[in-house]
Symmetry: C2
Subunit: 305 residues, 2 copies
Amino acid sequence: MSFLVLGTVALDNVKTPSGVKKNMLGGSAAHFSMSARLFDDVHLVGIVGKDFPKVHLDFLKRKGINASAVTISEGKTFRWTGEYKAEDLNSAITHETQLGVLADYTPVISDQQKKFSHVFLANLAPLAQEKLLSLVNKPDFVGLDTMNLWINTALRDLKRLMKKVDLMVLNDAEARMLSGERNLVAAARVIHAMGPKIVVVKKGEHGVYVYGGKFQFGYPAYPVAKVVDPTGAGDTFAGGLFGYIAKARKSDEKTLRKAAIYGTVLASFNVEGFGMGKTAPLSMKDVEKRLKEFQAFCAVERTGK
Amino acid sequence: MSFLVLGTVALDNVKTPSGVKKNMLGGSAAHFSMSARLFDDVHLVGIVGKDFPKVHLDFLKRKGINASAVTISEGKTFRWTGEYKAEDLNSAITHETQLGVLADYTPVISDQQKKFSHVFLANLAPLAQEKLLSLVNKPDFVGLDTMNLWINTALRDLKRLMKKVDLMVLNDAEARMLSGERNLVAAARVIHAMGPKIVVVKKGEHGVYVYGGKFQFGYPAYPVAKVVDPTGAGDTFAGGLFGYIAKARKSDEKTLRKAAIYGTVLASFNVEGFGMGKTAPLSMKDVEKRLKEFQAFCAVERTGK
């Protein structure tokens, strides 16, 4: 069945030790969708400017992503220019952010989309995320992502929104910032108490930790010997995680474990290439193959006495 | 069967956000032994000064650790004074190191001990580690640990020694320093090419990554919401890992996976208390209970379709 993702659609300029790429299709909702499309019918809600290359929109559609709720507005598309240094490929250094049409964006969706049961609020201003949520008629399951910028500048809005969502994904630095706890196990408990029933802490190369009140689980990352470009890895992870949940229409522990493993596998492809270079060509067969490798990699049952 | 561990026996003064403890029994070989004793008959090789409290030696013996090769020498016991700050409990800040009797220590073992098949060289100067190894008659399996100090000051000795061992354990920072690779998957491959057939990268709160040429595997850490004192966690991990290998008398992938899981479980107890406060009282029953919890925590098979 169909589900919604709201977030940014961007033009990215990225420099990493592997090279420099300009005007790549990027943004939280675009990366999310490129991953989630493998699981279910994803509808992307966002905005671009008149300068946005038609080839990018055509590309999203060709990949099976419904872009009917992408507003094309007067003005410039959101642009991000950033860099990753060899010493710490986990941390992006932002050189420039041009909000453009994002500055005063209000999400718009169709009457049909208002009936969707699953909604993911990818990284965007909490007020815009909340606005979209208000348009949807009693969704069954809502996921939320955010970033350090909103924790610093829109904490009150974010906290209000956190009470309305079922699942929240954050990276390790954001989890520490939001909770005030350095220990991620403790941080997840603090965030859980702030609203989300399921807290997913993304630790980049170190994997994922999930806390759901009555259960917790964790996995390492799939081992990638050369990270080319980590941009969008967190969104790609969220796309795999939430895409699987949306398809399953369940959110019990077993479903969440499998969803987190899919997210892990998708994110590992993402970092192996620039932008969507490695995720866009993927078929479900490729994903299942690496999933099996990953399950063998961190299998504990194989170690029975 | 019996096996050897060489390393430091120390008196530790430790400050962490949870408190301050003075004159605790510590040191690489002591922490290793307190963990390894649960698996097999461990013989500790090391040196202490005449100032070393007899209660500590009695304590080691009472725990089933053979201390017949612990030399009691004129002079002062090795002392370490360090601190962990709340911002980063993974990194020790050393305030003072007093080598004492360690300064010109040469390991001495009995003729019986020279015949042991399994030897672990816990953190100590590479020349002293190499000396012990030369005393043992063709051991079947040798493990090695080290620290940043020796990578910086005795790299040539360390590299020579690395060619003579089967397994090497390092923490993430040491693996990066020794290999020159920031990516730990890549770092393990570089270190593997330097000699050790099995490279075990300890990542503290992020778990462990193991590379063995034809296989690789990884696990997250057992989730600990409050780290009291991480001193000796790496040695405790190595004690569980190597203790299991020594007992099994095998080092195939299956054995190594189980060994790494035992190491993970033992290390999780270590960090929950000061010094050996939580590891010394442990029985194998306690360990097996947490091992089951850990296997459930990171189980991937439970997520089958």
